[in-house]
Amino acid sequence: MSKREFTVTVYTENQVGLLNRIAIIFSRRKINVESLNTSPTEVESVHRFTIVINETEEVVSKLCRQIEKQVEVLKAYYNTEDEIVWQELALYKVSTDAIAEKVKVERLLREYGARAVAIRKDYTVFETTGHREETDNLIKALEPYGLIEFVRSARVAIIKGSSDFHERLKEFEYKEPGEEVVENEFLDKKEEVFSM
């Protein structure tokens, strides 16, 4: 089994120290986290981690079970790129003069779907969202005109096959939830365990 890119989605309680508890599950096996996003979900008190790693599916599935084993983790899923819709946000700071003088830059930005989020006398900040290659391409294109600063966010991803997590969460509240919520990770994998 060869290594490939997986996006791990983890639903957790909002708890101090949980980031560390999840991070060490990767670092323990010397796995580099390529991208990590953590933010509140649509459900109050529930947080969502989106983690990108390069690993074999065998290892990723074991990691997910070890993550889900943590007391304050509600669910962990892993998906390949074709199972998710994902985006990264990027900000580019360029000299305002360069934009004003070189019309070409403006056209370039339009071509890449960039949007100005701040325009000052000396600099302008553009923003794009997209896949890694798209933002990389715009960096390359802007470099000759003087890119002052660049920053990229972590990946955020929606799982294509997901159902309403809010409903599932309600089930978690019950002491004796239905089988649907406490599905057997191991046993259901023959079907579609990690696809919600």
Partner: protein, 578 residues
């Protein structure tokens, strides 16, 4: 104990008492049925110790000599009693001294609740005196940990701690409480036990279809083989397990942690698995057609070389922890659930059977092992005593009724190979982590956990010197443990490996010992040292009959090796008899 003053809060209907955080901790202990605490005081946990002063009639506190001793004692207590062990330690060095025990309890699934003091909340992160980031240090070695900075959290956090520690797959929990929270008075509404955490599912719903699939595999098997671990003991499913193997008629071998779940002389019990386990169970693992693993996790010391492990067999794996299924050995059928629940389901679906031919194979291998290994070890022709004959005599005298606590190394393997047990929770050892220095403090705890039993700590000369200071605890708390030192004047297991795999280059394994009998005497513990065979039985008898702690040092063969042995990197069927 002073009576708590009831304070009715205006506008609040619930009756509350005004107590401080420290008292709330002790009230939680009482509500959870805690009787014994193992601990060591210090600056940041002083308010809790101050509160404890008033609770001495309800809570017994055992003052250890080092925090590592406290946590190993709590482990011994938990392992002997099945209850949660409880530890107190102060911040900084007190807390870091717990780390080895936490790691040991984590890997061996031992339920513990450890309370550490912490500096005042406003000092966190300032490198205050005796401040250490204990939460982050202990995260990888705890099932759950939490820092309390506000006393009002204490009742719910402790309820969660006890619930998490001893439910599902048990494990250690650490609660770090800042000094201000210990001192802070608050309106205490009483203690409610925790029964549910929405993100935590200790008891999975068992899926019948997979139990059925497992039963079908068992019913179709011709050479089925059961291997079981501590899960049977932790799940309190000894009876269910016995019923299962007896109906199925399947030979069963134990891991070092599963040992004593069934009596060691059970007719279907075929011995111990693993690197120094019995010959038959190791070889036949690679011959069975259905391997039924129950409450065990396929440790590398059990499996040997994984790519040559039971490849011919269909594997059924029953475990409460889904992350164990498929982790090391791919299961044909995984049954996720508490074995107390899954085993009776399985038993009801299987046919009553016997496998005389198959069982004979185990017995033939046993015979071979007896002849080449066991008999010579038990009856050495030289003057030097062997560890095996000491354990054999010990069995004879205790009749398998003692709790035997072992340290780590050659004596541990020999004891686990030869000790006889009649009842569950009798074999206490550091299995997963292999912590030298475990036995002496663990034996102290085991005695509190099983006060009616004889507790014998079998320890090597290396491990004994690692936690020797706990003799002070035995002295002060008058703990009736029998200390049996098997002294081969070497760090024997490492020496054995150096002999076998490093051309006898004995690198720093020659360890000197103090006069243990004199040391014990200094602690007011009587003792005796022997070298001669004719003294052995009588001396063991003296030790066991002595009313109180006793130390017996037995000099054994310097360069004896433990066999059989699965050399590292070899398959279980390549086990060597010599």
């Amino acid at each position: 104990m002073e009576t708590l003053e009831l304070v009715k809060q205006q506008g609040v209907k619930k009756a509350t008492t005004n107590i401080n955080g420290s008292k709330a901790v002790l009230e939680a202990f009482i509500a959870e049925g805690v009787e014994t605490i193992f601990g060591y005081p210090g600056g940041a946990i002083m308010p809790i110790y101050d509160a404890l002063y008033d609770y001495h009639d309800k809570l017994k506190h055992i003052l250890v000599r080092h925090e590592q001793g406290a946590i190993h004692a709590a482990q011994g207590f938990a392992r002997a009693s099945g209850k949660t062990g409880v530890v107190f330690a102060t911040s900084g060095p007190g807390a870091t001294n717990l780390v080895t025990g936490l790691a040991d309890a984590m890997i061996d699934s031992t339920p513990l609740v450890c309370i550490t003091g912490q500096v005042y909340a406003h000092l966190l992160g300032t490198d205050a005196f005796q401040e250490t980031d204990v939460i982050n240090i202990t995260t990888p070695v705890t099932k759950w940990n939490y820092q309390v900075t506000d006393a009002t959290e204490i009742p719910t956090v402790l309820a969660k701690a006890f619930y998490i520690a001893n439910s599902g797959r048990p494990g250690p929990v650490l609660i770090d409480i800042t000094k201000n929270a210990q001192l802070q008075p608050f309106d205490y509404e009483g203690y409610t036990k925790c029964e549910h955490i929405r993100s935590y599912r200790p008891n999975p719903i068992v899926r019948k279809e997979f139990v059925e699939a497992a039963a079908q595999l068992i019913n179709e098997a011709e050479k089925p083989f059961v291997i079981f671990g501590q899960g049977v003991i932790l799940g309190k499913a000894e009876k269910e397990f016995k019923q299962f193997i007896e109906k199925a008629g399947i030979p069963a071998a134990w891991t070092i942690m599963g040992m004593s779940a069934i009596p060691t002389d059970h007719p279907l019990g075929v011995g111990m698995l693993g690197m120094h386990g019995n010959y038959g169970p190791n070889v036949l693992t690679n011959e069975c057609d259905v391997l039924i693993a129950i409450g065990m996790r396929f440790d590398d010391r059990v499996t040997g070389r994984l790519d040559k492990y039971a490849k011919q067999a269909k594997v059924i794996h029953l475990d409460i922890d889904p992350s164990e299924i498929d982790k090391n050995v791919k299961a044909t059928v995984g049954v996720w659930g508490d074995c107390k629940e899954t085993l009776p389901m399985l038993t009801s679906l299987i046919e009553q059977k016997v496998y005389p031919q198959w069982l004979k194979k185990f017995n033939d291998y046993k015979q071979l092992e007896e002849e080449t290994c066991i008999v010579p070890e038990m009856n050495p022709v030289c003057d030097e005593l062997s560890m095996a004959e000491v354990i054999n005599l010990l069995n004879e005298l205790t009749e398998g009724n003692a709790v035997v606590v072992t340290d780590v190394g050659q004596h541990q393997m020999v004891t686990c190979r030869y000790a006889k047990y009649n009842s569950s929770k009798s074999n206490i050892t550091s299995g997963g982590l292999g912590t030298m220095g475990f036995a002496l403090p663990a034996a102290i705890g085991a005695k509190f956990g099983a006060p009616d039993k004889t507790v014998v700590a079998v320890i090597g000369d290396g491990g004994f010197q690692m936690t020797i200071q706990e003799l002070g605890t035995i002295m002060q708390s008058e703990v009736n443990v029998k200390i049996l030192i098997l002294n081969n004047q070497f760090l024997g297991m490492v020496r054995q490996w150096q002999q076998l795999f490093h051309d006898k280059r004995y690198s720093f394994v020659d360890i000197a010992s103090p006069d243990y009998v004199q040391v014990a005497k200094g602690y007011n513990i009587p003792g005796y040292k022997l070298e001669k065979r004719e003294e052995l039985k009588h001396s063991l008898q003296n030790m066991l009959e002595h009313n109180g702690a006793y130390l017996l040092e037995v000099m054994v063969g310097k360069e004896d090796n433990v066999f059989p042995m699965v050399p590292q990197g070899c398959s279980v069927s390549e086990i060597r008899l010599k």
